[in-house]
């Protein structure tokens, strides 16, 4: 491009440059999902020392959908979550939240505030704090240092915490130290913490690992009740659990989508059978 063209491009009056536009604080209200999908991953590639953890992955999640993602170990499920939440940056490809928020450019806390909540594979909560305090910290408020120093809980915020406690079924343990909870309760607390963020999209990594049968059922109910109001992406190994909650299942293999459809379609897909059972 010649100098003149660059100048013309710069002087164009119908566009606003990023650095001129006042940067609005990112929030879920700004999210634009008019075209249906809430999450767009297009031709995403991530490689670690030559190994392609994600290889030209393209995936769309619809607003309000409950999607399960399955795949053998090393298929790239966790890496995909890392890319969406900003922990890992893709080498190629685009990741958009709604149509207007480019996730590859935002740091992790801003992605969280934009409305993406993530549950880790291993339950990760604040063990030394009480159940109530865990939820309080997760609440969608001003999270900068100075406002936090003087913040007091309003009664609406307290009600909101109690509401979430009821949703995840931990109300009886409200002042218990979180470290004392059972494994399953910790998983629910973490899901509760995600809900406190008022996220539009929940990424849930292996929610039922290590749970008893009853706990699994409870979790399945919880997650299906969340879909609709939120979009939920569940990564899980437990096929029975996936069958019980999933409408659409995506199978990942070697960093790209192998098959997509409802559970029966996917299970009868010869490619999927080959990957899972070996040839």
């Amino acid at each position: 491009m010649s100098g003149l063209d660059t100048l013309r491009e710069t002087m164009r009056r119908d566009r606003v440059f990023d650095f001129v536009a006042r940067r609005e604080p990112i929030s879920s209200e700004r999210l634009d999902t008019r075209h249906g999908p809430i999450l767009y991953l297009e031709s995403v590639t991530v490689s670690f020392d030559g190994f392609k953890a994600l290889n030209d992955l393209t995936l769309y999640i619809d607003d309000g959908e409950l999607r399960c993602i399955i795949g053998p170990n090393g298929a790239g499920k966790t890496t995909m979550m890392d890319v969406i939440t900003g922990k890992t940056r893709p080498d190629e490809g685009t990741v958009f939240f709604g149509q207007n928020i480019d996730l590859t450019r935002l740091p992790e806390p801003e992605i969280a505030q934009a409305g993406i909540g993530r549950k880790f594979q291993k339950p990760t909560i604040f063990e030394q704090l009480s159940v109530f305090e865990n939820l309080e910290l997760a609440m969608a408020t001003d999270k900068r240092v100075w406002p936090s120093l003087v913040m007091r809980l309003s009664s609406e915020q307290r009600d909101r915490i109690e509401e979430v406690l009821n949703t995840v079924g931990l109300h009886a343990l409200i002042y218990e130290r979180a470290g004392k909870l059972s494994h399953g309760q910790k998983q629910w607390l973490e899901i509760g913490m995600l809900l406190m963020q008022n996220p539009r999209l929940l990424l849930v990594d292996e929610p039922v690992a290590g749970m008893t049968h009853q706990e699994v059922e409870h979790t399945a109910e919880l997650l299906t009740s969340l879909a609709g109001k939120h979009s939920v992406v569940v990564v899980e190994h437990d096929m029975e659990f996936v069958r019980s909650i999933a409408r659409t299942v995506t199978v990942l293999h070697e960093g790209h989508v192998l098959a997509e459809g409802d559970m029966d379609e996917v299970q009868n897909d010869p490619k999927v059978v080959e990957v899972y059972l070996g040839s």
């Binding site: 801003e110 969280a112 993530r118 990760t124 604040f126 704090l129 910290l137 999270k143 936090s148 120093l149």
Partner: protein, 372 residues
């Protein structure tokens, strides 16, 4: 009235803190009386030497509390906190040097003795302003704070954590020690700053000045405790604990973990600087030895022995270990380092929550037995 309410809310559910502040306030009254009002012949008389020693312990206690805030609550094991202490001390030392005026050995009206000795003709620019106490006072907190801010900004932004961070804080204090040893730095080199005459117009050798310094130190410790308590009781304090226990979780909840760490680290460094500034007029000297990496490690031992994450535990640790040090280095000098090392091993193995943790454990056991 509002400040009273704030004070009460800060100390809510803080039994240990109330006891600690109670003892501190009592000593504020008792120590001056025993020193100034009780005649020297009386067995209850407290010598000025002891008062100064207590003042020194209290400045160490403030330093230990500053470390406890970053280590016990935020999980940042700083092995260079004595550097901030020493910087605060140097700022105070510079003020005290300027107060000497023409009473130095060489009688130069402006230059401190060591500069005359080095044949310097004029005061270096960074010594300007230190003849004013308000300026020196600001620098006692500003310089350590600024260093902590720059260091923390670089380290936390690059997500240096755990043992790596500890090692570079050691390197930081070591580098500062080497720098301050150099005569060209203009801080008195090897000998440091000493031979102080007076502070705010009061003669440093007077008993009443010594008592005044003790009172100032005790008040600073009390204020420091309330400030730290205010922080750890706020929501920001819970975020700090959250960062310690699960940094990634806090980040994915939308907290800028780096800002919180940086803020706590800087505040703690300023507190450490204040402690150093109170230490120097009481011991009468500041030299590069204060930057020695060993000092920072000893400081960590105080906090570990007293008990992390309670603030007053750090105070208990600092007082006990320093008293033991005074006692042992007087009575059995060759045993002291072994005793310190042994104490650290015992505490690490058997008392993960320090003496304060042991105490509360015994008490809760007793109350359980009392209930049945």
């Amino acid at each position: 009235m509002a400040s009273r309410g704030l004070l009460l809310s800060v100390l809510e559910h803080d039994r240990g803190g109330k006891i600690f502040l109670g003892i501190l306030v009592a000593s504020l009254v008792v120590v001056p009386i025993l020193n100034l009002a009780v005649p020297e012949s009386s067995p209850f008389h407290l010598s000025t030497f002891t008062v100064t020693l207590l003042g020194k312990y209290l400045s160490f206690a403030l330093l230990a509390m500053a470390l406890d805030l970053v280590w016990g609550y935020c999980g940042i094991l700083s092995l260079g906190h004595a550097a901030f202490f020493a910087l605060g001390g140097y700022a105070m030392g510079m003020y005290l040097m300027r107060q000497i005026g023409d009473r130095g050995v060489y009688g130069h009206p402006e230059l401190p003795d060591f500069m005359v000795f080095l044949n310097w003709q004029e005061l270096p620019w960074y010594w300007y302003g230190f003849d004013q106490f308000w300026f020196a006072f600001l620098m006692m907190m500003f310089v350590p704070g600024l260093l902590a801010f720059i260091f923390g900004w670089l380290a936390f932004r690059s997500r240096v954590t755990g043992v790596y961070l500890s090692i570079i804080t050691q390197a930081l204090t070591y580098a500062l020690m080497l720098a301050f040893f150099r005569n060209e730095m203009g801080f008195g080199g090897n000998n440091g700053l000493t031979d102080f005459k007076d502070i705010l117009g009061f003669n440093l050798q007077e008993d009443s000045t010594r008592v005044g310094l003790f009172i100032a130190t005790a008040l600073a410790l009390a204020m420091g405790y309330l400030a730290c308590r205010f922080i750890v009781r706020s929501k920001a304090g819970r975020v700090i604990v959250a960062v310690r226990d699960a940094e990634d979780r806090a980040r994915f909840l939308g907290y800028k973990v780096e800002s919180y760490k940086l803020w706590v680290f800087t505040f703690s460094a300023m507190l450490a600087g204040l402690a150093g500034a109170l230490y120097v007029p009481q011991v009468g000297i500041i030299n590069p030895g204060e930057f020695s990496p060993l000092n920072s490690i000893e400081l960590v031992v105080w906090v570990a022995i007293g008990g992390r994450g309670t603030l007053y535990g750090a105070v208990v640790g600092a007082l006990l270990v320093n008293y033991a040090k005074t006692f042992f280095t007087g009575a059995l000098p060759e045993v002291w380092l072994f005793a310190l090392g042994g104490l650290f091993v015992v505490v690490t193995l058997f008392l993960p929550r320090g003496l304060v943790g042991l105490f509360s454990k015994v008490r809760s056991k007793a109350s359980v037995e009392g209930a049945t």
